[in-house]
């Protein structure tokens, strides 16, 4: 059970950290769901074609960055509504993943997935935490908390928001790639369904703190893994157990939102920044 949690939580942690950074910059990217689907699929195909897990991770990383940048292109450069752009990218990402991945569904990888690498995933939180304390981290947080003041400090808010989306692309791309290449070792239609949005929620539940994201991710992984363990023991439908993590997110997010009297959320989360308009 513990090793199962550690394996499952690895990819999820990277995606959560990516979502966390982007939300801190004020970008609420629901399209990360599509990014994860695309990178998981592309990575699997590359790993299969090159007979090499590392080729898979590299390809997944590249695909993740490329797809995720569409978000900031549309929502930062063109100032379109973040939520709607996110929804559209979920559609496009899932569509691409299922079209591209179709011939490879059910095709086994020519190597056994080196699962042990997943145990190293928590190390990924170190650069994120370091960055948090750096000048770049400050700029990212300023862009999410008060972009108008940040601009007065000489920070280019669009540039910072693009950068945060790029970082999210790196993390979600790697996480998605790890999911199929290192963890499952097979590809199925919609294999990563829900992972992206779950990560968006866990980032919120961690109150946008990379330090809190570490335990929070593994707590949720327990909820994700629990149905598989429990269904052997308890006479409750597998499907009802499967719903547990999602109900958990709704309950905990509400609890956390109610308890957080002090405004911890980035004040400009999901709010478009247009230079010409004056801030409220």
């Amino acid at each position: 059970m513990i090793d199962l949690v550690l394996y499952t939580g690895g990819p999820l942690l990277l995606i959560v950290l990516g979502a966390l950074v982007n939300q801190r910059a004020g970008n609420l990217n629901l399209g990360i769901e599509g990014t994860v689907a695309v990178s998981a699929t592309v990575a699997y195909i590359a790993a299969y074609l090159f007979h090499n897990p590392w080729a898979g991770l590299l390809a997944g990383l590249a695909a993740g960055i490329a797809f995720n940048m569409a978000f900031s292109l549309l929502s930062v450069s063109l100032t379109l509504n973040q939520i709607v752009v996110g929804i559209a990218l979920i559609f496009v990402g899932n569509g691409i993943a299922s079209i591209v991945g179709k011939p490879y569904v059910g095709v086994a990888l020519p190597f056994s997935p080196p699962k042990e690498v997943l145990l190293a995933a928590p190390a990924a939180s170190i650069p994120i935490m370091l960055m948090y304390r750096s000048r770049i981290g400050l700029a990212i947080r300023a862009s999410g908390d008060n972009p108008y003041a940040a601009e007065l400090m000489g920070i280019s808010v669009p540039a910072v928001r693009h950068l945060a989306t790029f970082i999210e692309g790196v993390m979600a791309g790697l996480g998605g790639a790890m999911y199929t290449v290192l963890y499952t070792g097979y590809l199925a239609e919609g294999i990563t369904r829900g992972t992206g949005i779950l990560s968006v929620s866990i980032a919120m539940l961690s109150m946008w703190s990379p330090l809190a994201a570490l335990p929070m991710t593994y707590i949720f992984t327990v909820l994700v893994v629990l149905p598989y363990v429990l269904q052997l023991e308890v006479p409750v439908s597998r499907y009802l157990l499967n719903a547990l993590p999602y109900i958990g997110v709704v309950a905990l997010l509400s609890l956390a939102s109610a308890l957080a009297k002090r405004q911890v959320a980035p004040k400009y989360l999901a709010r478009t920044y247009r230079r010409e308009e004056k801030g409220v």
Partner: protein
């Protein structure tokens, strides 16, 4: 850091031509992708001809998509980011089946389905109103919960043992006429149109959609208005699922909805978040969806292409609206 920047500034006068050009170029992009994937020029006209040859199938997609689209239009106008139409629709269908099996009346089932949609949508509205939990996240989570419940009733609770080998539930006691279902959709669209444009509640929805600060200043009870918007939106989606079951599919199964609630989001933006326009956009979306599905047989085009197309339609409309109101310049 960046060699250029994009400057978006308001136009003095809106430009319909620019908006139209932007939207059309995205539509041609979709056409191009369809051509690329199918590898044949005839695929494009064939797609819509195939769809028109299957009016029953188009109606089957239209009803849940249009109701989800109207549900989305109402919620988005109120600034409530409901992306839970899929779950509300599924709960509407599940409850409709359950209630109609108990009562023996499909009509009672449809009404129960409407209530279930209201409740499923209302939960996230209450949470938003009183705790501030982000509804874009909670409504999506509720979709995933509803999907598991659909699996639960299909594989277990309401499975019809007389159907061997397939996870099909018991059928509804009687079916509703598909045209009556479509008529109900039109009536509901008119009702929401009236609600939004000619009532005080509709006005408070729209004021809230313009900004919570403004709404609070205008003396609007944010929590109460949010809950109303979420549950009315959920009711519409719930009816969509109940009608899909009662008028078209007749029973539930794991693949009951290929994402009608999500496709409805595309329809609501394509219809400029106006209920009557959403009727038209849903018809177009349903034709496109059934058309691409039809290409699967003749051209080997995967159904997933339909989803990618829906996403591009949303972006296209957004870009169209943007350049209609704003001037976009690239500054080197």
């Amino acid at each position: 850091m960046w060699a250029f920047s994009v400057v978006v500034s308001p136009r003095e006068r809106p430009s319909p031509t620019s908006g139209l050009v932007a939207a059309l170029s995205v539509l041609s992009l979709i056409a191009f992708v369809v051509l690329l994937v199918s590898g044949s020029v005839e695929a494009l006209p064939d797609m819509y001809i195939a769809a028109l040859e299957r009016p029953g199938q188009v109606l089957l997609v239209f009803v849940p998509v249009a109701l989800s689209g109207i549900a989305g239009a109402l919620a988005y106008r109120a600034g409530y980011w409901n992306i839970g139409m899929e779950g509300q629709l599924l709960m509407g269908a599940i409850t409709c089946l359950w209630a109609s099996l108990i009562s023996g009346s499909t009509l009672v089932g449809v009404m129960a389905g409407a209530l279930a949609g209201a409740a499923w949508g209302g939960i996230t509205g209450v949470l938003r109103g009183y705790t501030g939990a982000n509804e874009a996240v909670t409504t999506f989570m509720m979709n995933l919960v509803a999907l598991q419940l659909l699996y639960y009733v299909s594989y277990g609770a309401l499975r019809d043992p007389s159907v061997k080998g397939f996870p099909y539930t018991y059928p509804v006691p009687s079916t509703v006429d598909p045209l009556a279902a479509a008529g109900a959709v039109v009536a509901l669209a008119v009702a929401v149109h009236v609600l939004l444009n000619y009532t005080g509640l509709g006005l408070s929805f729209k004021v809230m959609g313009d900004g919570v600060e403004v709404a609070r200043y205008a003396g609007i009870d944010i929590a109460r208005t949010t809950i109303l918007a979420s549950s009315i939106s959920g009711t519409l989606a719930g009816i969509g699922g109940a009608l899909e079951l009662a008028a078209f599919q007749g029973f539930l199964q794991p693949g009951f909805s290929p994402g009608y609630g999500y496709i409805g989001i595309a329809a609501s933006w394509l219809g400029f978040l106006k209920p009557l326009w959403v009727l038209a956009s849903s018809a177009f979306v349903a034709l496109t969806y059934v058309g691409i599905d039809g290409l699967r047989v003749g051209y080997g085009v995967p159904t997933a292409l339909a989803y990618a197309a829906m996403g591009m339609i949303i972006v296209g409309v957004l870009v169209g609206i943007l350049v209609y109101r704003y001037r976009i310049r690239i500054v080197l």
